[in-house]
Symmetry: C2
Amino acid sequence: MSVITIEKKILQKNDEVAQQNRGLFKRGNIFVINLVSSPGSGKTSLLEKTLLRLKDRIRIAVVEGDVQTDLDAQRVAKFGVSVVQVVTNGACHLEAKLVQDAISNIDLRDVRLLVIENVGNLVCPAGYDLGEAMKVVVLSTTEGDDKPLKYPAMFRNSSALVINKIDLLPYVNCNLDALKSNALRINPNLKVFQTACTTEAGIEEWSSWLECQTRKS
Amino acid sequence: MSVITIEKKILQKNDEVAQQNRGLFKRGNIFVINLVSSPGSGKTSLLEKTLLRLKDRIRIAVVEGDVQTDLDAQRVAKFGVSVVQVVTNGACHLEAKLVQDAISNIDLRDVRLLVIENVGNLVCPAGYDLGEAMKVVVLSTTEGDDKPLKYPAMFRNSSALVINKIDLLPYVNCNLDALKSNALRINPNLKVFQTACTTEAGIEEWSSWLECQTRKS
């Protein structure tokens, strides 16, 4: 019983800090997405492609969450954007306080878009508000079309779904229509994109949409 | 501080129940593996292929862990083995008590091999002993070769690594040698297999090894 109480307190405290983050982002006119997915869905590759398209059009900063390494931050830093690595030391998700600490290390002046790449985990990050404008869930076709049904919270709490690695569809057991229909059954409001970072398929559409969301925020 | 204490108590309690499970398995002469991975690595497909090879040679039972559905249990039940579905209702890992409750619903007489398929999550299940003889981590080539470095606890706590979907190597950005070397850097004792459920590559070797482990236990 005490466990549940503590857990509630953790989430309540997280929500308070998330609201502080949200206020800061609003005052700074910064559009923030929380990029979530399983390990290896291609979040970082998608981010690289997105940075390539948008970095000279809008000012972007990145917070990289990782259990142990700074490999992703190294990849992102090559694009010349501000990036902070948060290493959770084994913890399975980012929390609002970690983001708050991270962004205190970035110069947010003139930044219009902040991308928070969460730890690769399709379960736990669903429950943690970081102060973002929206969660964007990335799902690789290689993971199979049943995943929205098996991990519904993440799809319910996201505003957009990027179905990545569509170039692999001929080789994997994944029905794209079934995947979309399963996702929309969980959340009819999901904006759905289909991308492949190797072929650039869908990257233009996704990046343009993200730029529009940023400009209108 | 109280959170850490509670967390320790949870893990301590879990370990106690895991030891009870381990005693039960030992008395029953049952070899138990805890199959762990990211969502969509192909755990259930690997299990299907394994059951096809071994179900008429040794008596097998399965515990299926899932956040929300019983889709995997339905797939496994087709092979005529005893299977129990544990739905964690949003929780990100199986705990020993859930397994204890689950196996009380299976007739374990003559069962020699029990496969526990954990929730798809490369982080949290690493910390929870279920009473198994070993953890087996499945990693799909589509997830990339850096994953052992990024999620080290799971590779450190596993005895075997099944690199799955090797048929997709020509199409994905994954260096098999780098993947193996990264995994062995984290855990030099890992027994490594390479499989593809679509082509049956490596399935015989993996199944034979599992049968030997079971018979010698």
